[in-house]
Structure formats: C-alpha cells, structure tokens
C-alpha cells in the first residue's frame, strides 16, 4: 500500500486546530481590544479620582496653615499694644503646626513709633529642631519690598507667594503664606506670614504615583516646577521653558499645557515619542496646578501580561484540542484502517481473512457489511472460477485425448495397387473430432468409408472406435456395405440416450468388375467424375434401431474419379458466413484432370477450401478421400 503522507486523523485534527486557532485569535483580539479600552478608561478615571483626592489633601493642609496664620493675626490684633508679646506669638504658631517652618509678623513701617522696621520672627532650626526667635528687618533686609509683604499689602488679600528655594536653611522649596492684618479703617497693621516647606507635599506626591513610570507635577501659577526632588532636571525650569523642547507640531501637548495653565480641570491624551500617554490635571485653591501623567504602556502592562498568560493557556488548550481530536478521530477511524488492511489482504488473495469487528452501528458498520458481502462473493466467484477452470482443463484434456484416439485410428499408409489409387486426409478443427475415414482391401474387394460422428470428445471417439471395429470385422468377412451400416446403426442406437449419431458413407468396389456397391447413412453424396452420385437418402446411424438401410450400386469405368468428403468441406465458411457449398465443390472436381495423384487432388481441394475461408477459423473437421480407377 502506498504510504499515506498525512493520515486522515492528522489532516482532520489539523483542520480543526486551524479553525479553532482562528476563532481563538479573533476572540483574543476582541478581548484584548475591549480590555484595553476598559482598563484605559479605568486608569483615567482612577487617576482623576486620585488627583481630586490629592488636591483635597493638599488644600486641607494649606487651609490648616492659613487658619493658623489667621488665628495668629487675630491674636496680634488683640495684643498689638504689647510689641514684646509678638515674639511669643510667632513661636507658638510654629509649635502648633509642624508644617510651619517659620512665622513672621511684619509690621508696617513705623507702626510702633521709632521702629521703622519691626518684624518678630520665629523659625525651626534645621539642625537641632529648636525654635528660635529674632527680629527681622533692618536696612539690609528691607522687607517692605519683598513679594510676600508687598503683594498682600497692595492687594489687601491673603495668598501664597511663588515657591522659592531656601538656600540658607533646609535646602528645599519653601512657600510663604501671607495674611494682611488691617485696623478698623482698613489701614494695614502687619503682614503675618507662615513659611512652609513644600517637602511634605513632594513627599505626598511621591506616594500617589499610580504606576512606577507615572509622573506627578506640581506647578506654580507662573509655571515653575515645585516638586523637583524626584527629577532634578526640572530644577529651575518652568513648564514654559520645557515647552521649548517640544516641537510646535505636537499640538496635543501645547493644547494640554495651555488648558492646564488656564486653571482648567480635566484629562487629555497625547502622544510623545510614539508613546500614548494621558494627563489628568487640576488647579489647587491657591492657583497651583497638579498634574498626574501616565503612559498607557504601563497602564496596560498588566493586561499585556494577562494577554501573554491567555495566549500561553490558549496554545496549551489548542494543543490539547489537537491531541484530543487526533485521539478521537484515530479511535473512530481505526476500524477503517483495519478494514483497509483487510481489504488489502483480500486483494492479495487471502479470502479467508477475518474482517475486524465493528461495534458501532453506523456507516463504518455498513461499509464492513459491504466488505463482508464482497469478500463472500469474491470467495464464491473464485471458487466457481477454479472449478470451471478445472472443468475446462479436464475438458481440454479430454479433447486432446479424443483427438489422439481419432488420429491414431486413421490409416496413414495408402495401398499401392495396379487397379486403383487412393489417398485420404483429415484436417481436424480446433475443438471437433468427429470425422473418420478408413479402407480395407479384402481380396478383390476394396472397402472404404468416411464418417462423421456427431459431437466431440470421448463420446465421438467411442462411436468412431465402434464404427472402425465393425467396419474391419464386416469387411474382413466380405459382407455387404448394407450389413455393415445396419450393424453400426444397431450398435450406436442401443441405449443411445444422448442422441449420439454418425453419418457415414460405406462403399465396396469390386476390383474385377469395377462395380461399386454402396450405402449412404445420412452422409453427403459422393462425387464421381464431377457429378453427385444418385444416392438413396437413408438416415444417419444411431437414429432409429433396425432401420432398413438400402444398398445401391453403380458400374465404374477406367479413370473414374471418386471424391468422398465430410460436411466440413461443403459447409466451410468464409468471413461473411458464405459456405463453400456444393456448387463450388462440384465445379472444382471438374478441373482435377491436370492433377497427377490422388494426394494432389486431396491437398489441392483443401487448399481451395482454405483459400475460400481465408482467415476464418475452421469450424468442423475437413476429411477428403479421393479414389481413381486405373
């Protein structure tokens, strides 16, 4: 059997695997897109909540500080007549609120007569943590022109000034909250300030990063970055100076910055260096802006991880499906494979091969039944073929035996006689062996006969053997042809159930008188000198027992030419079914004068017949006997 490159099970399993894989890929695609969308949305929302919460927290602390300062302002108003009490007030403010690093009460110029500058100040010593108090303000520290004093003094409103870097003290950003204290007439009494380290804000901001790569920016009203501890590159920069590095084509970022800096609250997406990010931003009450920036890659990092897990699980699942399919298909088709190999064995001739048992009641079972039927039919057919082949062989054997018997009964040596010439030939047909010729010289009597036994094979051979023995017996006794035919007739008729018969012509030539006595038993008429001999139509031997055969006689002359033959001659057929026929035969015998010997006559007639029949197969024995009177 030709080796199958890919088995049916493999092919089917691969197809199923392919289809499932496609479905799987589509499912994963849809799942990943929708999960990306969901997770992105979720991240944006939670970042926005985080922003709100952080703003709230910062504002809360700032309000505490503002309240502290306002409380101190009230105390200043109460105790304004006692300048020395002011020192304690500043120290107490620091004590009460740990976020306040320094507190000053900067009185307006000459509020206390004789004191152009008066500004009691307490601060937390950065190294020891002790609270120290002193008077700020002199010619070299002319605070009236400093932002924290001047802006609230002029505007009359409290507020947070721009953050500044504290070089001398804590080495971190500070911001100062200033509150203008006025009298009943609205005249400025003092500016009360609280210096606040922004460190706690930056520390807070460090803790709210939603993702490791997220960035949180706190930006002042003028655009300076306030929380530069985590990213020193931002130190001394403003959001506007940073914007210089960004191409004008990045409209998204420009729009984002302008939205942010105009104090809007919101969320914007933008792309930077092929990376999609989003920013949630919002203003604090003091005008500062807080922004949380996240890149989607980090947002979706977990989904990517989940996706990888999903793909790995999917691949394992697909492999399992393949293995399962392969197993199931293999199990279900294994009877087919078994059937196929059984069929192969049958094809090789092993008809007794047992077909595999099929348990399922399905198409495979039907196929098996068909195979079963085919096997039995083949077996029977082959058996009958063997039998018929054997019969044929026996039959052919029998034919060849019969043919040998037939040929052995024929005389091949012809008498040399001064009164006559005699020659005979028998050309057997392929399958028929019923013809017979013979002659017997008894004194002055020449007996000759030609016969055609019906049928073929052994039965015909037996009939001939009977005929021959009776012919020799009767001729040996010198009896008449009539007696001979009657004896042969009775012999064959006896118990002749299978319709055996023989046609024959028996002649007896008296060589002294040249009188021919003859008896024709259903045989073709003989030809004498180119004419059919007038013969009484008796009947073939074997038809009717004790039939009264009539004998006839004719006087022959010198040179009389006799042609005796069987029906293989006149009934010889050519391709189109035309027979050689009596007329052609008689015409031919009229031209025998030129032929010298009886052998020539016989051979020439046979040649004439063969020329007539051409390629057509001879369908009956051809027997010719020629006798000439000298």
């Amino acid at each position: 059997m030709k080796p199958i490159q890919k088995s049916f099970s493999t092919r089917l399993s691969l197809n199923i695997l392919l289809a499932t894989s496609l479905l799987f890929i589509v499912a994963i695609g849809i799942a990943s897109i929708s999960s990306h969308m969901l997770i992105s949305k979720e991240a944006e929302l939670s970042a926005s909540h985080l922003l709100d919460a952080t703003i709230n927290e910062i504002e809360l602390s700032m309000r505490e500080i503002e309240t502290e300062v306002k409380g101190t302002a009230w105390m200043v108003d109460e105790k304004k007549n006692d300048p020395q009490a002011m020192y304690a007030l500043t120290a107490e403010a620091i004590k009460r609120n740990s976020k306040i690093e320094g507190c000053a009460i900067a009185f307006s110029a000459n509020y206390y007569d004789g004191h152009y500058y008066f500004s009691p100040y307490s601060y937390r010593d950065s190294s020891t943590g002790e609270i120290k108090t002193k008077q700020l303000g002199n010619e070299s520290w002319d605070y009236f022109y400093m932002d924290w004093y001047q802006i609230p003094a002029l505007s009359g409103k409290d507020g947070w000034c721009e953050p500044y870097f504290d070089e001398g003290g804590g080495k971190f950003y500070m911001s100062t909250y200033s509150y203008p204290l006025k009298d009943k007439n609205g005249k400025l009494i003092a500016i009360i300030t609280a210096d606040v380290s922004i460190r706690w804000i930056t520390e807070l901001l460090e803790t709210i990063k939603p993702y490791e790569t997220s960035k949180v920016y706190l930006i002042s009203r003028s655009g300076s970055y306030i929380n530069t501890e985590s990213d020193s590159s931002l130190f001394g920069e403003t959001i506007y100076s940073k914007l210089h590095y960004i191409e004008d084509s990045d409209n998204d970022i420009h729009t984002l910055v302008s939205k942010m800096m105009s104090g809007e609250k919101g969320m914007d997406k933008f792309s930077r260096k092929n990376q999609m990010s989003f920013s949630v931003f919002g203003p604090l009450a003091n005008g500062w802006i807080l922004s949380i920036l996240c890149d989607y890659k980090s947002v979706l990092a977990n989904t990517s991880k989940m996706q990888s897990i999903l793909i790995i699980v999917g691949i394992i699942g697909l492999l399992l499906i393949f293995a399962l399919c392969y197993g199931i298909v293999k199990k279900n088709t294994s009877p087919l494979a078994a059937l196929s190999s059984s069929a192969l064995r049958i094809a090789k001739g092993d008809f007794d091969t047992t077909l595999p048992e099929i348990e399922s009641d399905d198409e495979i079972q039907q196929l098996k039944n068909s195979f079963d039927y085919m096997q039995r039919s083949l077996k029977e057919y082959i058996a009958s073929l063997k039998k018929s082949t054997a019969t044929n062989e026996r039959f052919e054997n029998e034919l060849s035996v019969a043919s040998k018997i037939q040929m052995s009964m024929l005389q091949k040596v012809f008498p040399q006689h001064d009164k006559f010439d005699l020659y005979a030939l028998l050309k057997p047909a392929k399958e028929v062996g019923g013809d017979y010729y013979d002659f017997f010289l008894k004194g002055n009597l020449l007996y000759f006969t030609i016969g055609d036994a019906a049928g073929k094979g052994i039965p015909a051979a037996i009939v001939m053997a009977i005929t021959k023995s009776i012919f020799h017996f009767v001729a040996g006794m010198g009896l008449s042809p009539e007696d001979m035919v009657k004896k042969i007739n009775n012999s064959i008729s006896e118990g002749n159930d299978n319709g055996m018969f023989v046609t024959m012509f028996v002649g007896c030539l008296n060589l002294d008188t040249m009188e021919l006595t003859y008896c024709n038993a259903g045989h073709n008429p003989i030809i004498i000198n180119g004419n059919f001999l007038d013969e009484k139509p008796n009947i073939a031997c074997g038809l009717i027992p004790d039939f009264d055969y009539k004998i006839q006689s004719i006087q022959l002359q010198k040179n009389s030419q006799l042609i005796i033959y069987t029906d293989g001659v006149n009934e010889a057929e050519c391709q189109d079914g035309k027979q050689f026929g009596n007329d052609r035969l008689v015409e031919w015998t009229k031209q025998t004068g030129a032929l010298n010997s009886q052998q020539d006559i016989c051979m020439n007639l046979l040649y004439a017949i063969q020329t007539f029949t051409q390629e057509n197969e001879q369908n009956d024995d051809i027997t010719i006997m020629a006798i000439k009177i000298k």
Partner: protein, 100 residues
C-alpha cells in the same frame, strides 16, 4: 446465439437465432434441459433465424425428439432455411423429426 422460450399450458414455442455450432450447442443443451425434463406435449421450434447447424446441434434436436416422443408428444421444426433443411434431409433427420 439466442434462444427464446414461450410456454403455454403443455405447448412450448422455442425460437432459435444465430449459429448452432459446436460451442453454442452446449448453451442450447443447457437451455433445453427444462424442456428435456419437462412434460410439454407439443414442442415447436422456430428456425427462421437459424443460420447454421453443426452435427452437435443435430444431436440436441435428436435428443429432444426422443424425449418428446417418449412422453407421447410431438416436436415440430418450422421455417427452416433451405440449406439447413438440406442438412436435415441428408442426415435422414427428416425421417424422424417433423419438419414443416
């Protein structure tokens, strides 16, 4: 060779066409077995299309004739072609078989 057998009561009509030679005689004999072993009293054989008959073929006619006669029936051959009739005549079969 073709044989058509039509049976009606105890009559049977057999039509033979083609060549009844040595090889087809066996087939003819097989076909005739039911008739040989049957009980039809009247057997008619139509030989209109019988093209050739060999001695083996004649034998079967003889067997049929004997069997039919044995059961007091009659066999008749009809519409023989002249050269076929001649074969029957020469062999003397016309003396024992009813030929029309």
């Amino acid at each position: 060779m073709e044989f058509i057998t039509v049976k009606k009561d105890s009559n049977i009509l057999i039509t033979i066409s083609g060549r009844l030679d040595t090889s087809s005689s066996d087939e003819f004999l097989r076909e005739m077995t039911p008739v040989l072993e049957g009980d039809e009293k009247s057997v008619e054989i139509d030989c209109t299309n019988l093209e050739y008959v060999s001695s083996q073929g004649l034998r079967i006619f003889l067997m049929l004739q004997k069997k039919v006669v044995a059961r007091q029936g009659q066999m008749t051959l009809v519409n023989l072609r002249p050269y076929i009739k001649e074969v029957f005549h020469i062999t003397g079969f016309t003396k024992i078989i009813n030929i029309i």
